[in-house]
């Protein structure tokens, strides 16, 4: 049964390095058993946040709880969390087995107990037969597995992962995403995962926290973050988006800075400066005047067509703004080319209006 107490609770956590504010009054609760991703560009404070939870840094101000216990000033060896480091940080002078056993040895767990636990952990990550290899005799993916086993063997209450897939090549990364997710379900431990790869975060996490400039901008399920970004940075950072600047001029109405008024539902008061975010795949392309009744639309001209293999991106300009429309490369798709007059339409509910 998952605990009702949050696995990790950050309350007004701030971390300063000299004059630099790395983490800026972050409030965050991560539930027991959750797969949580901290997502953001490099330097956004996500790794520092992870290190604060691990105890490798101490917060300047704020309260940090793990399962209700205040741990803000405890050293890492006295916290019930373990970390999978960015480049695994396996001990090069020890075999895979000795690496995995390290945490148990340091806690002076009786030998009779260490052996089966190490064996189970190695089996959990499918590394049987590799026990006697040293890290430099293992591939990147295998090192990753040993690092996971080394952390999980201690049965931490929370597992912290710092860009664990960053060093792997694309194919392996995709395979490991699925495996990591399955592993988390199997062991039922709370995973807190740091990544700059939005695709990875969307694919793996139960919830995502998007960070920028030390601040936590939005927390939510992947669908929520993708479909309902609450600010411009999140809309821009997650996936592709057409970001159109404008002002709310009436109920569900936004006048863009180029003078075109479009239908875009929001509860922002008229007069508010906003950005309208429209995903390229949520927009549809028609011959001029061919938009469905219930769709919002603008007329424009195809400026450029980009061929992606599995899809085509049509850049449609209207006044001096433009909207990218993505169409899957299916037989019978719109056969329009550069210079054609077209109408771009979308479901009014598929745009997100965020205040600047």
């Amino acid at each position: 049964m998952p605990s009702a107490v949050p696995a990790v609770g950050l309350h007004q956590i701030t971390k300063r390095f000299g004059d630099v504010i790395a983490v800026d009054s972050v409030d965050l609760e991560i539930a027991d058993g959750e797969f949580f991703a901290l997502l953001g560009p490099s330097g956004c404070g996500k790794t520092t946040t992870l290190r604060l939870i691990a105890g490798l840094e101490f917060p300047t101000t704020g309260s940090l709880r793990i399962f209700g216990d205040e741990v803000g000033t405890l050293p890492p060896n006295r916290r019930p969390v373990n970390t999978v480091f960015q480049n695994y940080a396996l001990f090069p002078h020890m075999t895979a087995e000795e690496n995995v056993a390290f945490g148990l040895r340091m806690r002076k767990i009786p030998k009779a107990e260490v052996e089966p636990r190490v064996r189970d952990a190695i089996a959990l990550v499918h590394m049987e037969g590799m026990e006697q290899r040293r890290p430099d005799q293992l591939s990147g993916g295998q090192q990753q597995r040993v690092a996971l086993a080394r952390a999980l063997v201690n049965s931490p209450k929370v597992l912290l992962l710092d860009e664990p897939l960053g060093a792997l090549d694309l194919k392996l990364r995709e395979a490991m995403q699925l495996e990591l997710k399955a592993l988390q379900r199997e062991v039922g431990i709370t995973f807190v995962f740091v990544t700059h790869d939005q695709g990875e975060a969307l694919a793996m996490s139960d919830r995502i926290g998007v960070m920028d400039g030390g601040r936590l901008l939005q927390v939510g399920a992947p669908e929520e973050i993708y479909a309902r970004p609450t600010n411009r940075f999140v809309a821009d950072f997650i996936g592709q988006a057409n970001l159109l600047d404008g002002m709310v001029t009436g109920p569900d109405r936004v006048t863009l800075t180029n003078g075109v008024t479009i239908a875009a539902p929001s509860d922002i008061q008229p007069g508010g400066r906003v950005t309208v975010s429209l995903r390229p795949e949520q927009a549809f392309l028609h011959r001029q005047g061919g938009a469905p009744e219930h769709h919002a639309s603008v007329d424009g001209q195809v400026e450029q067509v980009t061929y992606l293999g599995n899809a085509l991106i049509y850049r449609v300009s209207f006044q001096w703004m433009h909207i990218d429309v993505r169409e899957e490369n299916r037989p019978g798709g719109a056969s329009v080319g550069a210079g054609d007059d077209v109408t771009v339409s979308w479901e009014p509910s598929s745009v997100a209006v965020v205040q600047d």
Partner: protein, 292 residues
């Protein structure tokens, strides 16, 4: 090597390999001669008088030589142990911590490597004569120069060399390993004992052997720090030369040479242990060593 990479038969290849042999001859001919004449049965060095081992026998019977050899070994061992501990601590402090005056400490630590031996020797001479006077005035201690002062002066220059070698090793080590150890329930001491120390052990061993070699070889600093009672083998030999050279000197030199070669080879071997990447730092170190 040179001959193989150039095109066979060409004039360049011949010239290059010829130069190489010439350089080797220049390096090793004196050593070969030295070794050869240590077995010569003639009082004059440079005149071959037939094969004998009598000079080596003389060395074994020579109580003053034996005495100075014993001093050399004790000084070398003691100064190595102390300078390895202090040098490693200094390296750790500089690589792993930030403290006030760090840059000054860093610069000062390298000073004994840079300053000429003679300067160092004169400094030691002044330091010890003043120190002995003050010790006598304040505490009534009757100190003389000898074993202790030699050891102290050797520690003084060896700390720098040890810390340079250990630092090179430490800076090549992934700091995240120590964080990983802390994360895996090790405290600071156990993280050092089980992760940092095994990682820098080749550096420490290399530094120790280097310190041992430097201490055994040193003449200039030792000469100024030693007293009439006890002196090291190289200084004693240096004194002997002034009273006339016999093949006994050759025999002593061969023994010292052999000991040095063994230590240098051990030093190289331990440095190579487990990593192939220390070649660069090693080269830099050997250059510095030959500068002493």
């Amino acid at each position: 090597m040179i001959g193989r990479t150039a095109r066979p038969g060409s004039v360049t290849a011949w010239a290059l390999s010829g130069t190489a042999w010439l350089v080797y001859a220049f390096f090793y001919a004196p050593i070969v001669l030295l070794v050869l004449f240590s077995f010569s049965d003639d009082r004059n060095v440079g005149r071959w008088g037939g094969f004998t081992l009598s000079w080596y026998e003389q060395f074994i019977d020579h109580s003053q030589l034996q005495n100075s050899l014993w001093v050399s070994i004790r000084v070398a061992l003691l100064s190595t142990v102390i300078s390895v501990v202090l040098g490693t601590l200094a390296a750790l402090a500089l690589e792993r911590f930030r403290f006030r005056g760090q840059r000054v400490f860093d610069a000062l630590l390298y000073l004994p490597i840079i300053i000429p031996d003679v300067t160092m020797a004169v400094m030691m001479l002044l330091f010890f004569s003043e120190g002995i006077r003050i010790a006598e005035l304040l505490f009534g201690l009757d100190l003389t120069k000898g074993f202790t002062t030699i050891t102290i002066s050797h520690i003084a220059f060896n700390i720098s060399f040890v810390s340079v070698v250990v630092r090179a090793r430490l800076s090549g080590m992934n700091e995240q390993l120590e964080e990983a150890a802390l994360d895996l329930y090790a405290n600071r001491w156990r993280s050092f004992r089980y992760v940092t120390l095994p990682q820098i052990a080749p550096g420490i061993a290399g530094g120790a052997l280097l310190a041992l070699t430097l201490s055994l070889d040193d003449v200039v600093v030792t000469q100024f720090a030693s007293g009439p009672g006890s002196t090291t083998l190289p200084v004693f030999v240096f004194g002997m030369i002034r009273r006339g050279v016999t093949p006994l000197i050759n025999a002593v030199s061969v023994i010292m040479l052999a000991a040095s070669i063994v230590l240098v080879i051990l030093s190289l071997a331990t440095q190579r242990l487990r990593t192939g990447e220390t070649g660069r730092t090693l080269g830099a170190r050997m250059r510095r060593r030959s500068g002493r």
